[in-house]
């Protein structure tokens, strides 16, 4: 009994990363339950990512589906270095960008017309919005802004990397980002103001 408890404790204390590595090994052996477990472990987080890059929930689910298919097909390329979640996230982001490029309803909006450098906004508003509300605001940005903003502000890619990923220059990426940022700050401020007014009315 004691041994069982100790065993259970050891299992509980095992790093999550090791569990994920084992999960990957099981998936590589084509075990359906492992595949389902991997999907369940990451689907919600990845759905959040897909949601930020697309304009509708249906599109987000399409990206999620395509992304997980790519994950399972290319799982043998996972090198067991670093977090599995990070690797899956990278696949999802790439899938999302390819999805935007492939689908015509996004293509027209994904044109990165370089309007020159934009002055950096010094605004640093309070962000009192929930994750979902903030994501909804990001999704209302034009697709080009939305993509660059997500890649830089959330995923942490540099403008050089974004330029390479999207096939645009570094400066274009930078200016697109600043426009997106300013627009978003304005919307966040408006949102906060409206929220305050609403609370005053209630009072």
């Amino acid at each position: 009994m004691c041994n069982e408890r100790n065993g259970a404790d050891v299992r509980t204390l095992q790093p999550l990363m090791t569990d994920h590595y084992q999960l990957v090994r099981d998936c590589l052996k084509n075990r359906p339950e492992a595949q389902r477990l991997l999907y369940d472990s990451f689907s919600e987080q990845m759905m959040g990512i897909c949601f930020r890059y697309t304009k509708s929930r249906a599109d987000a689910e399409d990206v999620l589906q395509e992304g997980f298919v790519r994950v399972f097909k290319n799982l043998h390329q996972f090198k067991f270095e670093g977090e599995l979640g990070g690797w899956i996230r990278k696949v999802m982001v790439n899938t999302a960008i390819n999805y935007l490029k492939k689908h015509s309803r996004y293509q027209s909006d994904l044109s990165f017309n370089d309007a020159g450098l934009h002055p950096i906004s010094a605004d640093n508003p309070e962000v009192n919005l929930s994750a979902k509300e903030l994501a909804e605001l990001v999704r209302q940005l034009p697709t080009g802004y939305q993509t660059v903003f997500n890649l830089h502000a959330v995923e942490g890619y540099t403008h050089v990397e974004i330029g390479q990923m999207l096939g645009i220059s570094e400066n274009t990426s930078r200016s697109q980002y600043m426009r997106a940022r300013n627009l978003l700050i304005t919307w966040i401020e408006n949102f906060s103001r409206e929220a305050k007014q609403e609370s005053y009315v209630r009072k």
Partner: protein, 497 residues
Amino acid sequence: MSENNFEKKIQQRLEGLRLEPSEPVWYKVEARIREHKRRRRWLLLLPFLLLTLGGGAYWLLSGSNKPVTVAENNIAVTAEKKDSNINDTERENKSITLQNTESQHNISADNKDKINSGAGIYDKETNRQKNTPRSNKNVQFAEHGTTSITRTDVKKKTRIAADDEGKSIKQPLQKEKRDINNEDNNISNEVKSDTSVTVNPPNRTPLINNTVPDSATEVKSLGNKNVIRKNEQTAIAQPTAIEKRNRDKQSLLWGISVKAGVSNITEALLDGQFKNALADFQSSPNNAPGGSGQIPGTPAVIKSSFAFGLGGWIEKPVNKKTALRAGLNYYNFGSRMNVGNEVNSTRSVYNGLSSVVVERYYLPGNSRTYYNKYHLLELPLAVYRRFNKSERLPFHGYLSVNPGRVIGSKVLLQDTTGVFFADGSLLNKTTLSFSTGFSLIIFNKGKFPLRTGPVLQYQLNNLNRSAGSKQHISFLGLQADVILGKKTKPVQRSSSN
């Protein structure tokens, strides 16, 4: 600083975003990954299936070409004569039973009259049926009557009923059931032979349909039995030639094919677009550092690489000089090129249709050699034409059209900046090629003749769907076909009467 704070807040907030996807998403994912695995499993099984099919066909065909031996040991052939006034109940459905150590054959026939006629014995050496007519007329099976044949081993008897008037037998004994009709039954002979009996298989030519005069048949007494022997080869020589000619006309060859040589891709992907990109770059005002234009690279030099193919085929002669062939081939074509270091990082590349993000790519350079591989399945349809009359070394030329399908690939493409990347979606999966060559059949008299010669193959349609691509696979090599078997179709027996 303020910018960083804002980004940090956004990142923290959005990192926590969790949304539950709807349940059908998993089912779709699962269906697609299962489908992918099923396809891979099937491809792994394909060579095994081909081998099994080939082996099975060989076993079947080689078995059917052997003459059917009715009995290995002595056999007694009895021809019984029955009176024509046998009652009606005996006239119907007489069964012919052939038995030997290997199998049992039942031969039944409807008859209008109960007839037992004299018949012939089967000579092992000549595979010919000998007639035992008593009159100058041929022994012949006709609509009326039934022939009752019982073949046994040493202790058993074979009864062959034949025409009293000695008409020729039109049908040889067959392994399976058959109807044998006889016209009249006036002869009753019991014949015993010490030779084993061989009966031509059903697909052979008609054995005897000749007129054998009574004088040509000699009946010798062996104890109480009558031994019927055909007098010399007169009745046999003519059908043998006919048989051989018919067999040559209708034979069906089959075998396996192996090809080995070098293959190449005629043009690098986007070769034309490199030139366009360079022209655009030179004329664009936006190509200054910091502009959106990117410096175009140089297209890689694609070199030839080893390639091979395996397959099975079946060939149908149309006439003496021409034959048609169909088959199934697997090819492993390849090419090679020099690439730079591998980079495990995301990058947007232009694949000729649109920009895509890749997770891995190779820089331009010469630090390593990369081997591109294409796996194809093809269904070749070929016309073979013979150029000489030599039986020892037949010489053929051929032309083949090969519709096919790319079943797998490991290929690097190059974008206009010179970066190499993998993108299987660009590949045109359906292919159409033609091949031509010459072949010489060696060991033609042997058990497994070998047909060998050079082959040239060229893919007619574009390998890549990209607009700027003109990629075609070419192959030059040697082909060797092993002729494993020959199947002769059953020949309709012609009546000379």
